[in-house]
Structures are given as structure tokens and as C-alpha cells.
């Protein structure tokens, strides 16, 4: 009889389901297997709960503070509003300085200080009616917190920072440049997020802890591809073919070639390849819709239907086989 300690440390849920479907199990035995091999250990469970409670506490508190200042309560004097915001920032920083910067609590305090800085600028605009537009607000906020973001080693803070920079870019094209073409804005968002992705993956090459966190590059790549798909689809339907359309097309080739190479050879990850593939299917559909005779709707719909089905099947089969090959080589599981 095998010893429980000689069994694998963790077993995937589908394999246990397979075993449960084709063998007789007693309730207690199966519960024991799930507890030992699938579910997190007690220590992991407690750690996860602790982090969740801490993150939820700080997030709710911050949201409450943001809602409170958005209400712009008349009964609260301007001075009191400033005192509340500034003291919150100062307290967060003081506690941060006293704590170990690697601790989650310290990192969350820094995030809190970062968000409160934005609230402070918003209150400043509210009280003095500066007339500043959203672009000025987000730009000032970005500049003010850049040092904290650079010093911190906290992915959530980096993500919030990236969101704010995206807002700066959005409002720059919307309120400052007043460019009539949305294409430049889409191109700029794509380029910005792609640069952020390159920076992240480059850091990940040096730092194993950063490389382990796959959710962050996936979110960044998703946003880059989202903007790029919009830009290229827009270019396909826009027959003018001006400079901005060519920029989108150039970005498309550059990003897709680089990402396909990187995520299939260097970091073996199915998800980015799936995102890229689906984006290409959308572009293909746009190309068909634009290319086929406008009066022949039925033919367009039929070709779109067949193309999407064939492309999805091809993509899924390709990714499935690729994943199987990766797992077969050295019997190691890749990022999924």
C-alpha cells in the first residue's frame, strides 16, 4: 500500500474528478484527498484571508473617503477638508516609514497615500475653483506620486499608476491637443501599455518574484491589445489611410510579432497568445465586412460566420496542441 507522504503534493481538480467518476469512494476519504491535495492548507487559508481582509478594509475605507469628498459637504469647512486629506497622507507615510517596506501592510499604506494625494488635488480644485481640467488634475497627480511608485515594489500600486497615466494620455488628446482623430489617442494608449509591458517583462527577467506574478502582464497586454484592436479596426473602416492609420498598422505588426515570439518561446503562456489570436479574428472580420461588396449582405454574413468558426477552431486547436507540447517537454506544467 502506498504511503500518503509519497503521493504528489498537489493534484489538479480535473484529475480528482476523473478518479471520483470511475472509482468507489467513501465521503470521508474523498474529503481528505480534497483537503490534502486540492484545497489550500490552513496556513495558506489564513494568510489569504488576512490579506483579503486587509485589502478589503483599506479599499472600502478609501472608497468611503473618496465618496465623502465627492459629496462636497457644505457643513465641512475648507480648512477641515485639507486637514483630513493631508493628515491621512502624513499618517500613512509615517506608518510606512516605521514598518518594513516589504510587508503588505506597508505597501497598502503607500497605496492609500497615493490615492489620498489624488483626493487632496481634487479637494484643492473644489475649494479654490482653479478651473483646471481633468488633464491637469491627473498629470499633477501622476507627477506627485511618481517617486513613491518607483520606490515601492508593489504591483497593485504600479497598476493604479498605469491607469492614471492612461487617463493623462486620454485627457491630453481630449482636452489639450483637440485632435479630431481618435486614432492618435488609440495609438498612444497602445504604445504606452506596450512599453509598460516591456518594462515589466524586462524587470521580470531579473526579478523572479516579479516574473511569478503573471496577472499583471496579462492585464497590461489585454489593455494594449484592446486599444490596438480598436485602432486597426478603425483604420480598416476609415478609407483615408493617413499617418495615424499607418502608425496603428506598424504597431500591429511590431506588437504581434514580438508578443508571439516572446510568449511562445521565452515565457510559455497560452493566455496572451489566445488574446492576440482573438484580436486577429476581430480584425479579420472587419476586413471581410469592409472588403466585400456592400450590397451583398448575405454573402458577407455567411463568409463572416464561416471565417470566425474556422479561425476559432484553428486557433483553439493550435493553442491546445502547443500547450500539450509544452507540457510534454520535461513533463512540466506551463502558465495557464
Amino acid at each position: 500500500m502506498s504511503d500518503k507522504n509519497s503521493t504528489p503534493e498537489k493534484v489538479s481538480r480535473p484529475l480528482l474528478y476523473l478518479l471520483a467518476r470511475h472509482s468507489e469512494w467513501k465521503n470521508e476519504d474523498l474529503q481528505k484527498v480534497f483537503k490534502d491535495k486540492v484545497y489550500p492548507t490552513n496556513t495558506q487559508l489564513l494568510t489569504l484571508f488576512r490579506y483579503f481582509v486587509l485589502a478589503a478594509g483599506i479599499s472600502f475605507l478609501l472608497c468611503g473617503v473618496i465618496f465623502f469628498f465627492a459629496y462636497n459637504w457644505d457643513a465641512l469647512t475648507s480648512m477641515l477638508k485639507f486637514i483630513v486629506c493631508e493628515s491621512a497622507i502624513v499618517l500613512c507615510i509615517i506608518f510606512y516609514l516605521f514598518l518594513n517596506p516589504e510587508k503588505t501592510l506597508a505597501k497598502l499604506l503607500l497605496t492609500m497615500a497615493m490615492v489620498m494625494t489624488g483626493v487632496l488635488f481634487a479637494v484643492f480644485g473644489q475649494v479654490y475653483q482653479t478651473g483646471a481640467n481633468a488633464y491637469d488634475f491627473f498629470l499633477t497627480w501622476t507627477l506627485a506620486v511618481t517617486l513613491w511608485v518607483l520606490l515601492s515594489r508593489f504591483l497593485t500600486l504600479w497598476l493604479i499608476y498605469l491607469v492614471i497615466i492612461n487617463l493623462v494620455v486620454f485627457f491630453y488628446f481630449e482636452q489639450v491637443v483637440h485632435l479630431h482623430g481618435e486614432m492618435y489617442s488609440l495609438d498612444a494608449h497602445t504604445a504606452l501599455n506596450f512599453v509598460a509591458l516591456i518594462v515589466y517583462e524586462a524587470i521580470g527577467r531579473k526579478n523572479k518574484l516579479v516574473a511569478k506574478q503573471r496577472w499583471m502582464p496579462r492585464i497590461i497586454l489585454f489593455s494594449a491589445i484592446f486599444f490596438l484592436t480598436f485602432a486597426v479596426s478603425y483604420s480598416i473602416f476609415d478609407n483615408s489611410w493617413e499617418k495615424d492609420n499607418y502608425i496603428a498598422l506598424g504597431l500591429f505588426f511590431f506588437i504581434f510579432i514580438l508578443c508571439c515570439w516572446f510568449y511562445s518561446s521565452v515565457v510559455k503562456d497560452i493566455l496572451p497568445l489566445g488574446m492576440i489570436g482573438f484580436s486577429m479574428i476581430i480584425m479579420l472580420v472587419c476586413f471581410i465586412v469592409e472588403g466585400i461588396d456592400k450590397d451583398n449582405v448575405e454573402l458577407t454574413l455567411l463568409i463572416v460566420s464561416i471565417t470566425v468558426l474556422a479561425a476559432t477552431t484553428g486557433l483553439v486547436t493550435f493553442l491546445y496542441r502547443l500547450n500539450k507540447t509544452w507540457q510534454g517537454n520535461g513533463k512540466e506544467k506551463t502558465n495557464q
Binding site: 500518503k4 484529475l15 474528478y17 470511475h22 476519504d29 484527498v33 472600502f60 472608497c63 483553439v316
Partner: protein, 359 residues
Amino acid sequence: MAKKKQISKEDLKALHEAYNPQGKADWKIIDEEFENVATGNPIVLKILIILGSQIAALAFIGFLAVMDLFDNKESQFTLGIIFLGGGLAMSFIKNRSDFFEPFALTCVITGLSVLTISFADAMKFKETELAGVGLIISLTLWFISRSALQQYGFFGLFIFCIAVLMWEAKAYNMIHVLVGLCAAFMTFLLVHEAELLSSSKRVAGRMNSLIASCASVLGLLLLISVNKESFDGEKIGNWWASSIMLTGLLAYSGYVVVKKSMLNISPYAAIVVAIIMGASCVLAPGIIASVLLILLAHYTARYLLLTAGTISLICFTIAFYYNLNISLLNKSIMLIISGIIFLGIFAGMQYWSSKKSNS
């Protein structure tokens, strides 16, 4: 990059022998299916299949409509049956690869849509009657189909038909009952996973699709109905009812998780925490539902569900900001209180763990 070692057939046999030495196993079938199951099907592929199939089916239905094929009732009915039957038949192919899945799903979506239009046309059905028939058909198809993706869709359609019936009967407050039922069913499946698997072999094949359907429909129901107006311009109220049911489930889940995990803390503490949490978010049932989802996903190590819970928590918090029924001041007070409660729990956990390590 950290990589996990893949499990071999021998590992699985060793596991079975160690935990279930007396239990009989059909190793022939397990060996046959092992490779497909062990390779796994990354969730991204399933999402791709769902998205691609829906676009393809939509375009194909459009094609059929433009070709005037919907004018002829017989051709409509025949096409519907052929597509639906074809899609279901493909789900029966043993050890089918993902090659068939998009085809099968597209056929099922097209067939079902064409049949619905055909029925509504031929029988002069109104929405209520159509939803009633849909209820029976979706449940039957759910029983017949062997594909997890199709089962997911059929069960989702079943709950959607119930929602349509409630909507048509103008029983808007019944939506709380539906929310409660979806959440209760999902909680039951997640908390009693092992018990259900050991008691019925059939459950194993359908468990994941049922959980995914319930979680998706629960999120969708709350997203489209919390503080939104119905088509008649009437607001659905009494959201505290949903909140109470969800809080009850949160308390139950917390109790079971603490008890089953033997965490050395009283399970009643989990109930108290859940009640405080529910009370502070009584007007935002979406937030309570998201916390419930996160708790259960953590406990059962389902990371896709965890991601869905986290995203829904962000979405429902943003939706709460735009809820015009409550003033921003009241909302901020509720959120600040919730935040302080959570931070208090965190402080309590820290104190408890430091006390434990000192002793």
C-alpha cells in the same frame, strides 16, 4: 518561473491506493481518459470557444434571416432541428478534441435560436409561454448534452427563462428569491463538493458547469437589476431582502469553512463577521455576493472564480457609487464603517496569531 510537476498515471494510482485502498476503480477507463484530462484545457480556450461560437452563430442566423429562410416555417423548423441535433450529437463523441467544440456550440446556438423563432411564429407564443417552453427544453437539453460548455449554457438559459417568467408576471420582488436560490445552490455545490462527488458519479461530470452557470447568472442578475428600472419603468426595490439571504449564506459558508479547516478559531466568529459585513452593505447586495464568491473560491482553490469575484467586487463598488437612491454621504459612511470593520478583523487576526506564536 515556478513550474509544477505534472502528475503521471502512476502518481494517480498511488494516490488512490493511499487514500482509498478498499475502493474499486475502473483503471481501464481512467487510463483512456487520463491524457486528455491531465493535459488540461486552459480556461482561455473555453472563453475563446464561447466568444467565437457566439459571433459565428450570430452571423449565420443573420445570413438565414437575410436569405428569407425564416419565411418558410417548415424549413425553419427543419434547420433548427438539424443544427440543434448536430450540436448535441457532437457532444457525444468520445474523447472529442477541442476541434469539435466550436462547431458543436455554434450549431447548438443557431439551432436553438432558429427553433425559438420558429415556435414563437408557428404557435403565436407570447414571451411568457415561450419562457415556459424554454424552461422545459433547456433543462432537457442540459440532461442530454455531454459537453460542459453546452451544459453551462443550457443551465444558464434555464435560470434566464425563470427570470423572464417573473419579469412578465411583473413579480419584480421575486428576483430576490431567484438571487437567493442561485447563490444558495452555488454555495451548496462549492461547500459540499467532496460529499456530492462521493454520493453520485453523475454529479462529477456536471459540477463545474453548474457552479459556473450559477455564478455567472447571479452576477448578471445583480448587475442588470440592482437599483435599475424594469422595462415598465418600475424600480425593483427591497434589495435588503437579497442582502439578508446573501448574508445568511456568507455566514453559513464562513461557519463551514472555519469548521472544516479546523482553523483553531470559533466558527461562530465567522458568523458574527458575516453579519456585521452584511449589515454594513445591506443596500449593496452585489458587494456581499462578491465577498461570498471570493470566500468560497479561496476555500475551494478555484482561481478563475476568485478572479471573477474580485472583478465583480470592483464593478459592484463602482455601481454602488452611481446608485442614485442613496446620497453620497450615506454611501461614504457605509463604506467607511465596512472598511473599519475589515481592518478591525485584520487587527484581531494579527493579535490572535501573535498571541498564539508567543504561547
